[in-house]
Amino acid sequence: MAHDHAHEHDPHDHDHGQAMPETALRVKALESLLVEKGLVDPAALDAIVDAYENRIGPRNGARIVARAWTDPDYKARLMKDATAAIAEFGYSGAQGEHMVVVENTPAVHNLVVCTLCSCYPWPVLGLPPVWYKSSAYRSRAVIDPRGVLRDFGLSLPDDVAVRVWDSTAEIRYLVLPERPAGTEGLGTEALADLVTRDAMVGTAKVAGP
C-alpha cells in the first residue's frame, strides 16, 4: 500500500509545513489586521476551514466511483458530463467547476498532475496531499510516470498505456479506478470504503476487500 511508505524527507523540503513559529505568528498578524479593518469575517474563516477539514474530502469521490461501478446509467452520465453527474450528489464548485472523469481499464492507466501549480479536483477529493504538491511529483509525473507509480509501489507492465493528465487549465480530472475482483456482493457504501484518494488520482489501484 502506498501509505505504508516510510515518511522520509529531505531536510530542505519544507513541504510539510512544520509550523515555523514565525510563519504562524505572521499569519496570525495578517488575520488580525484584516479582521480589524473589516475586510474579513473571522466566522467566515472558521467556516472555510471547517468545510475543508470536515465536509469536502475524498469520501465524496469514493461515493461517485462506487455509484459508477454499480449503476451503468450513472456511469454513462458520468463519462458524458462529469460535472453534471457529480452535481447529482451535491458536489460542485471551487476547483471542480468543470470536471472530466477518465476510466482505468486493464489496458489503460490514468494519472493526474498539475505541473504548473497543484490544481486538483477539490469538490470530490478535498485539498491535495503534500506529495501531490511536491516538486518531485510535479516534475516527474509527466516525464517518468512509471517511476512515480513505482514510488507508490505500483509497477505497470509495459503494454499498459499510461495517460498523464496535466491539468493546467480549469478542467479537473477524477480517475475512475478499476473495480477489484471479489466485490460483487458489496453495496455502494462498502465499495466506497475501498476507494482511496490515491486511486482516484491514479497513483494506486483499488485493492479488494
Partner: protein, 219 residues
C-alpha cells in the same frame, strides 16, 4: 513566464514520498492561510490567474524552499498590498490606518458554503466557431511570454492531436494582467510521450493537456 514553477520534466527532486494518514492541515495556520486567501478574494480585487502569477513570481530559490501554504501566504500578502486592501505601513505595524473607515466583509459565515459550491466557472459563450476539431494535428506554439501563461515549456514546439474541445474558457494570459477574459476555445491535446521525451519513452504512453486556441497552430 518560464519560471521555476514550470517544472514538468525536471529531474533532481528525488522520489515522491507519500505520508501515511496525512491530516488536511499540518498546523492550524495552514487552514487560516487558505481561509484568508478565499475571504480576502471575495473583494474581487484579483482573479485566480493573477493570484497564480503572484506565486510564480516569488524569487525562484524561495519558490522551491517554501511549502505550499507558505507560498500562498507570501503571495496573499502581495495581493492585498497590490490591491490596496492594506498598506505597507499597516502590514509592518500590524495596526490599521485609523483614517480609513472600517469595512464590512463581503463574505460572511453563512455565505461560505454557497460560495464554495458556486465556485468560479470559466466557461463562456462566444460567437466564434472552434478553429480545431477532434483528430486534428496541431503544434504547440513557441511562445515565451514573460507574464503568466498556462502553456508549459515541455510541450512548446511539439506536435499533438486534438482530443476534444471544452467550449470557450477565460484565457489566463490576458486575465492575469487584468486585460480582459478573452475567452477562446479550450482543447484537450494528446502528446505522445515519445514526441515529448524522445525514443526512450514508452510508445504506449501519452500526456494530455488542456490548451487554449492561442497556444496552438495547425500542422
Amino acid at each position: 513566464m518560464n519560471g521555476v514553477h514550470d517544472m514538468g520534466g525536471m529531474h533532481g527532486f528525488g522520489p515522491v514520498t507519500p505520508e501515511a494518514n496525512e491530516p488536511v492541515f499540518h498546523a492550524p495556520w495552514e487552514g487560516r492561510v487558505l481561509a484568508l486567501r478565499r475571504a480576502a478574494g471575495a473583494w474581487r480585487r484579483w482573479n485566480i490567474d493573477a493570484g497564480r502569477h503572484t506565486i510564480e513570481t516569488l524569487p525562484p530559490a524561495e519558490y522551491l524552499r517554501l511549502s505550499y501554504y507558505e507560498k500562498w501566504f507570501e503571495s496573499t500578502i502581495k495581493l492585498v498590498l497590490g490591491a490596496g486592501l492594506v498598506t505597507q505601513r499597516e502590514l509592518e505595524t500590524g495596526c490599521r490606518d485609523p483614517a480609513v473607515p472600517v469595512a464590512t466583509p463581503p463574505l460572511t459565515a453563512d455565505k461560505v458554503l454557497p460560495a464554495i459550491m458556486a465556485g468560479g466557472p470559466t466557461l463562456r459563450e462566444i460567437s466564434a466557431t472552434p478553429r480545431f476539431a477532434a483528430g486534428q494535428a496541431v503544434r504547440a506554439r513557441d511562445i515565451n511570454p514573460v507574464g503568466h501563461t498556462r502553456l508549459p515549456r515541455y510541450v512548446r514546439g511539439r506536435r499533438g492531436t486534438i482530443e476534444c474541445d471544452h467550449g470557450a474558457h477565460v484565457f489566463p494570459d490576458s486575465n492575469a494582467k487584468f486585460e480582459g477574459e478573452n475567452p477562446q476555445y479550450l482543447y484537450t491535446v494528446r502528446f505522445a510521450a515519445r514526441e515529448l521525451w524522445g525514443e526512450a519513452a514508452n510508445p504506449a504512453d501519452a500526456v494530455y493537456l488542456d490548451l487554449w486556441e492561442d497556444y496552438l497552430d495547425a500542422v
